[in-house]
Symmetry: C2
Subunit: 542 residues, 2 copies
């Protein structure tokens, strides 16, 4: 039996229109270091319309891929809205990709236009010889563009391209399951894989993000969007904030602790999103340069597990809740968020804050064993995390990857537990798993525990071959400047905190942990460094 409801497709243009209509005087602040510019949602609407006209004028039409190669700023946001709303497909390029990966993803997506910050044009120029589909580069910001001379591309100035265009665009009426945007995984093995978000998935993901038990973005919020817009849609906040009428603060390239502190002091955000390394840097900066950060109702952290010491530090020292979430490029990315259950007091919250959270409305999670059997939600059974929902990918672009899917569920490659209250805890990446004498050792938990030591800045744990136990953990540690610590002291520190047989016998001290293009520990490189003997491995007690 058919319903009588209107069709009303869920489109990115509907988010844009609603935000500009209902919250036209909310603002997007773009921080340039010495100056901050402000654009109202109504202006963003107008400028997005003008950008769509500008892109159409250089030949962009339905399904064409328009890439961005930019930090977070209002022009990037305008591309987020204009490109999908005109029926084209937004492809966010990661500025930190290596050249061969960058040319691979541009060619795989067949991008025809790249909207790029003037400051990163040299990075783009490195690959333009190998990316023949790119015909236009639209440059954001003023400066020298001569690095693009000699390539077969037409160079446009962003502001000139949109100037004097009509303030309304006939946004396309398109199937909501059509492509809106795409993003490539930052997989450390093999070529990046493309994920194509639909208008529908983007709309639903945003609606879930603004629900009260999720990020709860609302009209009283001001969101500091630290996580890059080229990284899993900046966790969907550019779209969700528009739905919610929440101000946004875009920090451009100023992602270091000092300018972030300056932004917080001047613009008073209520919520922010970033990876643990950002929060860690900021925390240590604030320790010696204290400012009032009570403007935050919460800061959200994802991309990797945040150390307990850091979560405690923010709460005890600054009264700010650091709320962890879990997601990946394949999941738009929001799946779980560690908001506490009802009736839990400040101290009781910590148990939940240490988890990756429970599924937000719209998502489903489960853990399964090697044979694909679902495991109980008992907080103990460790299995591969699988997820399902309207904004979870069901395939990859141009790529067969049958091993990534399990009867309609996405296999995440993360090992996890789910407890009876449905809080999920990541134990490890499946490929980072350490099995010692037939039992799991959680590299993630070991790392977080080691990082709780006052002398430790960072720690990464990998499995190394062992004759007796098949595999044993090796801990690689970065010591805080001016401090010192020995393997013996760290082993002693772990004694009361983890199972005795988890304590590594092997330690190495390094100046920094190698990281991927999105700032995660790159254990593949670390393993290679260890395997090739490039770092010295000490034995505790030796």
């Amino acid at each position: 039996m058919k319903s009588t409801m209107q069709e009303a497709p869920l489109l990115v243009s509907a988010i844009l229109r609603y935000g500009a209509y209902a919250y036209g005087d909310s603002n997007v602040y773009t921080y340039h270091g010495d100056t901050t510019t402000k654009r109202s949602f109504a202006e963003i609407y107008t400028r997005s319309s003008q950008l769509a006209h500008g892109l159409a004028s250089i030949g962009v039409s339905t399904d064409d891929r328009v890439a961005t190669f930019s930090f977070n700023h209002n022009q990037h946001l305008e591309a987020y809205y204009a490109v999908p709303s005109m029926g084209a497909v937004l492809h966010t390029l990661n500025i930190r990709l290596f050249a061969d990966q960058l040319s691979f993803v541009i060619n795989d997506a067949a991008d025809s236009v790249v909207v790029a910050d003037v400051g990163v044009l040299p990075l783009l120029a490195r690959v333009l010889r190998e990316t023949p589909t790119v015909k236009h580069v639209v440059v954001v910001g003023s400066g020298d563009t001569s690095v693009l001379d000699g390539f077969n591309v037409t160079v446009h100035d962003y502001e000139s391209l949109i100037a004097d265009r009509p303030e309304e665009y006939p946004w396309v009426d398109i199937d909501e399951r059509s492509a809106a945007a795409m993003c490539y995984t930052s997989g450390t093995t093999g070529n990046p894989k493309g994920v194509v978000y639909s208008h529908r998935s983007t709309y639903l993901h945003s609606l879930s993000a603004i629900s009260g038990n999720s990020l709860g973005l609302n009209k009283d919020d001001r969101a500091l969007v630290i996580v890059p817009m080229f990284h899993a849609n900046a966790w969907g906040i550019p779209y969700a904030a528009f739905m919610a009428g929440a101000d946004m603060i875009m920090p451009t390239r100023f992602l270091q602790a000092k300018p972030l502190a300056d932004i917080i002091e001047k613009l008073r955000p209520t919520i922010a999103s970033g990876v643990p390394t950002i929060w860690n840097d900021l925390y240590h900066y604030l320790e010696s340069n204290p400012i009032d950060i009570s403007c935050f109702r919460l800061i959200s952290s994802g991309g990797a597990a945040a150390p307990e010491a850091l979560i405690r530090g923010y709460k005890e020292r600054f009264g700010v809740h650091l709320v962890q979430g879990w997601g990946m490029t394949e999941t738009s990315p929001l799946v779980t968020l560690a908001m506490p259950p009802r009736g839990v007091d400040e101290e009781g919250w910590m148990k939940y804050q240490l988890s990756a959270g429970k599924p937000v409305i719209g998502t489903e999670i489960r853990v399964v064993d090697d044979s694909g059997k679902e495991l109980p939600n008992d907080g103990k059974s460790i299995g591969e995390l699988e997820v399902r929902g309207p904004w979870i990918t069901g395939s990859y672009y141009n790529r067969d990857a049958p091993d990534s899917f399990d009867n309609g569920w996405l296999r995440t490659g993360d090992m996890a537990t789910i407890d009876p209250e449905r809080y999920m805890r990541i134990v490890d990446r499946t490929k980072d798993v350490i099995k010692s004498g037939g039992e799991w050792v959680s590299s993630v938990e070991l790392e977080n525990t080691i990082m709780a030591h006052e002398a430790v800045l960072e720690a990464a744990v990998i499995g190394v071959p062992d004759e007796k136990w098949d595999e044993r953990p090796l801990a690689c540690v970065v010591i805080k400047p001016g401090l010192n610590v020995t393997p013996e002291e760290l082993s002693e520190f772990l004694k009361s905190r983890v199972a005795k047989w988890w304590i590594p016998e092997r330690w190495c001290f390094v100046s920094e942990i190698p990281k991927t293009s999105v700032g995660k520990f790159d254990k593949k490189v670390l393993r290679k460094d260890v395997g090739d003997g490039r770092v010295e491995v000490l034995k505790a007690g030796s």
Copy 2:
């Protein structure tokens, strides 16, 4: 270009599954006067599964209409979930319908099963002779069912029907645009018209309702569901609360001020939903029987405009915000909600609280003139309100009604203004509009202003023919018990509050204003009473 996202249809079963999974220990309280029963969301899931098995056992299959004829209680909620989730269609029957309307809607929908409270069986029995499609009556509650004897229906006891059934049901995988539920308008003219909600519209409506700028239902809430579940889905709260993990309190037939006060005192709801007459009754009861109602973070009011005096009274006397919303059966019903803009203090809020609110995410509103031209959002231009969105009806069941629609927008039959901040104010029903000397008089605003007088309990204003001005307002007033007031005193009272030429010359005093089956002023009956000379019309000053 296709996206790579999973299909993941938006189904009622997904709401049920999520609520039971993520918030299995949230509760549904059913108030029976002397006792209160409690069912956890996990139990509601199990019992909904068992109800689906029970209904299947008596022949219910895909697309069959299963009606409910019930007050608000957990069994009604179980039907809300079980019927759509098994692929059948829930049809909520209004207990207060007149017999001929009741038999009309049952026949129009071709209901095969009616789930009915034992207390209202006599009302059902009055029509069973005329409703041959009804084959089964499932009785909720224990008591005498002999009134059903002699009809061609099989009578089942609800608890017996579901007892010992399996605790899981294979919920159907169905197109999200399929019918989930239907409800008939309570139109005072002509036969009721059927609106058929889809799984998709129900899901999206609920997601919007739990967003922070909307009702913002969340896990810390306990929702007192006063608005009947047979009236526009109880404003969608039974579904939204499950998504949000919010407790629900179901008051069954105890909708009078005294038991409602008892519920508030005992069960401490944080939010409630009801029509203005309920809030008015409760307010007057609390004036003489004060209790602490600070448990409320807000009470929501809809179905008709709430008088300013009432809104002020709740705020000043009890510190509780009464938040108005606007919607209708055709709109699922949530369209607008009068939450204040950011940065507005307590006193500043009143201006917004007096409006019908601004559109919630997912809906669009506009006002158009007689020729269908869109009018400016200037707070002055009065036109017919039109609405659009995924949970707005685009047609009626089994009925052509081209006059109700305007190029994809629903014509609401309400006259309204929208101000630059997008707050909408209902001026009148199009059919209640009074045009005096070519200018609008808002019957709604006049009524609310008159009701602000301390001696007035209720007031309804209708247009009556006038030789000089074509039409003039006539005010029908119900005086509070033990008080007195004259037309002259009321005219004087209005002088500083409305335009001079709005002040009625004609007044009548009645013991009560006639009301529709859903408790709204029935001006059709009032006009007839006046026209037939059944009420005495006084002239002010005469």
